[in-house]
Assembly symmetry: C2
Homo-oligomer: 217 residues x 2
Amino acid sequence: MGKKGKLDVTKERLLNEAEALFAQKGYDAVTVREITAAAGCNIASINYHFGNKQNLYMEVFRSRWQPRVRRIHESFINSLTSQNSSSPAAIVQALAYAFLEGPLSDEERQRHFQLIVKEIAKPTTAFDLMVTEVMRPIFKELAVMLSSAMPDGIGQEDLMLNIMSIFAMVLHFNFARAAITRITGREYDSAFKARLVDHIIKFSLEGLGASNKGGGL
Amino acid sequence: MGKKGKLDVTKERLLNEAEALFAQKGYDAVTVREITAAAGCNIASINYHFGNKQNLYMEVFRSRWQPRVRRIHESFINSLTSQNSSSPAAIVQALAYAFLEGPLSDEERQRHFQLIVKEIAKPTTAFDLMVTEVMRPIFKELAVMLSSAMPDGIGQEDLMLNIMSIFAMVLHFNFARAAITRITGREYDSAFKARLVDHIIKFSLEGLGASNKGGGL
DNA sequence: GTCTATAGCAGGATAGAC
DNA sequence: GTCTATCCTGCTATAGAC
């Protein structure tokens, strides 16, 4: 809206820096002074361009976060149609890949999930947008995809819990990086990330895969 | 330390209210004014009893959070020895039960996990305590317990990833309550909680359990 | 559209009476 | 040990010059 010229670069820089800082430290912990300093412009600019800090935060979700979800979703659909299978294995594989490797740079992905986790932990107005525009539709879609391939008697709710569990792992392995690094002692590099994708696929399809072995004490 | 008399009730009340508020809203969002008002005492009392707000936060972890971890762990060990099995099924069952039903009241559990999640999302000095005193030892213990019952060739790291995935679900189903309620439309009552325990056990042991079915598109 | 300067307020921490 | 009153800092938001 309005004229899009050279004049909007400040606005764009503000959105970029704001997103990085909000993702990193959370809404309350970030000050407008910090954001404007990072963007190399003046304190008043946030008020001029967005009205106030709250609106800037929402605009980060609309102009940065939401388009990124669409890119992830497209990547998921593409990688699924390029395989010629709608087996659970194929679906989980495409899903884990889209979310953990997919179209996002590592930095983008980290931001993306930090924003999600912070909204889940302490919902604000952006939470509504997250649930109605993203989670609910994607979970519904996955339920439809999976239901035909699941054991026959499975209910909608069981299906939904399965989907949420996969999502839980994807989310966890993205947001608990610090803890995971501290516990495993491994760097969060691309080799480890590839390993995580494999693990999520394997665990989602067969869990511990030891149900037939374990013995009595 | 020091004299334990009627005089420490204020201190205890401060710790209780501080924990509830920190868990709910996070460290930054809570003000000492809020805490002292909830505890029904004066603003200066936090400074008097704990020195400053930071120390109060750490003391919440030491005097409330850490003992609660011990109770959960004891409950886990007890329920495991009362079954006469160290099969993965028994271990996962005892684990899911200890964390989702176990010795904690629903309110306590919610607080407990909110504190964990907030530390994982934005580590402070309490994060060290969490990793070294709790996560690392429990994960190690679980790795030892499980390794004998797992498929023979499994490496330490695979084992650790499996354990972290179970932990991821337990954590997720505790902290994402708002999102889960919004998506499933179900109240987070004890019936639903029991269902979640069953689900976590089932999913941990066999994943989607559909690896043999799904067909080509 | 961008800046400086400042109003107006809320935060943590402290001094000192009781 | 608890209180009131207050200091000082740092925040958002705004007014007004350029």
